[in-house]
Symmetry: C2
Subunit: 349 residues, 2 copies
């Protein structure tokens, strides 16, 4: 069944984990990567992979495999160039951490591709095939793009892939996604780098005294710098807004500490925010194909992807914290669930 | 043997862990706390504890127990007031996260106490007796104060306590300690609060997309706000310097991103700093009473605590990343070890 055939370009942490995970879920998988080391490791693990991206994509016109771009943002344009020659109308998604630049590149280079952007929110500081695992996406959020014009059937296929990998699907428009991840994914990398540098400025004594809070706060500074730069610099406008917010809050903390000696507003706001995040995580649906039973307030509903305005409605639901927990994809019908504290208006079945 | 008798005031995470850990190592332990819940839990676990700090400290004049202040900074003055009445010449240490204010309060209220400040660098977001464990200090750094005038024999007793709990001892002056922890312990709490707030400003979608980097970067924002405030506000001057350093670096990142779109300097510096921290951790001695064998460059040496200028020398060694790994405390002789990349001048035996 070709709709469950996958061709993954890039066999690093995310691409390599996707290959393993999808195969475990019964998908027919193959892959390609420029990295000889990743190709050799994947082949050694028994996967059908090639170091020729051209060869891998040439097959797509025959078998209509779902193509997944799992390369860093700077490499996307080159792969799209190959795709434009080999399989310009393919079903296409990606796992790049910024969505608007990828969507723009796809529209420019392979406008006929049936593209739906994606972003699984799973990662580790380590990179490359060896760092991946079949369980990387279990319990993770997997953003799927909901901009107007997406192909409902392809959307349902990719949502099923994400669910099959153990993730739950967070629907969002590309711009909303980029603004959100600037705050919760890219800013954390910038702050981790700043914290690591300020700590190291304290010399060997500070390094000897660094413990849990410093270890956790700087963990992602261990990530490959070129990958961190690619995702942060690729989301420049949204990241600038997030950095400005952080500068404003840190400056306010500084002013309060200097003038009155108090940090109450900063610490209390941070504590409340962390509690809100923990509540959102606790309320994330278990991936059982059924709504979660967490005791949290819950809304569920169904939505026909082929109905008028469906993607606009999905974008709005995503802003309210909803997740897609099941796909009946012969009818393009989605099951949605939210257990955010803020109730949202369930979609009529 | 009274030198191995311990009276711990405060039975929260740190005090409660110390009671368990020291007892496991063969110390005779007892404790007191104002929190009825902590006292009840400790008593239920079989420990000799009381909710009367007065009663606990009154015994110290008889058995010369080593008193450990394990209360938050705002409660220190009250306990010292009791101590001044009950046991003004006792052997005294503390585990408070800021050292200069505690030293000043001791000098003012119990000037005859044989005080050596301490700070075990171990913690969790959770607090209270229930959050503690006998293994909390295993592998941790435990700062011990090296300001002039410390009693060498008491210093050796407390160093032995730290080693018995599985920690290694980091020697430092109070001012050096406070400057270092502002960078690696207090600033991480401020940045975690700022990051949590900026993330929550992104609404339910951002909360749904928050993953590893946001989880780690905001973990300590889950800590009890009043404890975070007490330690941060208690180290105001040093924390202001650390916040200013962070503001400068974050502002530089902002400027670079806005003008050239590049974050190279920020990300590379953070990566190098994190690697330096990981190297320092990897080089921390195993607590076996012998120098670590990690393959890292290593220096070892001995130092007689009773020799002239010994504490000044220890402060200098601490600045260079040295640890005390063994104490021959009948002779007040310390074994020191460092595996920092920067070599230090070993002390002649």
């Amino acid at each position: 069944m070709s709709e469950r055939t996958l061709c993954v370009i890039g066999l690093g942490l995310i691409g390599g984990s996707l290959l393993r995970s999808a195969q475990n879920a019964g998908w027919t998988v193959r892959g390609a990567a420029a990295s000889e080391a990743d190709v050799a490791a994947a082949r050694h693990a028994g996967f059908t992979v090639t170091s020729s991206v051209d060869d891998a994509l040439a097959e797509v016109s025959d078998d209509d495999a779902l193509v997944v771009l799992a390369v860093p943002l700077p490499a996307v344009v080159e792969v799209l160039g190959v795709l434009a020659r080999c399989a310009p109308r393919c079903r296409l998604t990606d796992v790049v951490s910024v969505k608007q630049p990828v969507a723009a590149a796809v529209a420019r280079l392979v406008p006929a591709a049936r593209y739906v952007g994606g972003h699984p929110m799973a990662g580790r500081s380590a990179s490359g095939w060896a760092a991946g695992s079949a369980t990387l996406f279990r319990g993770a959020s997997w953003m799927l793009g909901c901009d107007d014009g997406a192909d409902p059937l392809v959307w349902a296929h990719i949502a099923q892939l994400a669910l099959d990998c153990g993730a739950h699907v967070v629907p969002a428009g590309a711009a909303d996604h980029d603004a959100a991840v600037a705050r919760v994914s890219h800013l954390p990398h910038v702050l981790a780098a700043v914290l690591a540098s300020v700590g190291a400025d304290g010399g060997p004594l500070a390094m000897a005294l660094g413990a849990g809070s410093f270890t956790d706060g700087t963990r992602v500074a261990a990530s490959a710098p070129e990958l961190v730069r690619a995702m942060c610099e690729g989301n420049r406008e949204a990241l600038l807004a997030a950095v400005d917010d952080a500068l404003g809050r840190l400056g306010a903390a500084r002013g309060s500490l200097a003038s009155t000696g108090a940090l109450e507003a900063t610490i209390r706001a941070g504590h409340r925010a962390r509690q809100a995040f923990e509540a959102a995580r606790a309320g994330a649906p278990a991936n059982t194909g059924a709504p979660a039973n967490t005791g949290a307030p819950e809304n569920t509903g169904h939505l026909e992807l082929t109905s008028p305005g469906a993607f606009g409605r999905l974008r709005e639901l995503g802003r309210q914290g909803a997740r897609v927990t099941a796909v009946h994809h012969t009818r393009c019908q989605l099951h949605l669930s939210s257990s955010m504290a803020t109730p949202w208006q369930p979609v009529a079945p």
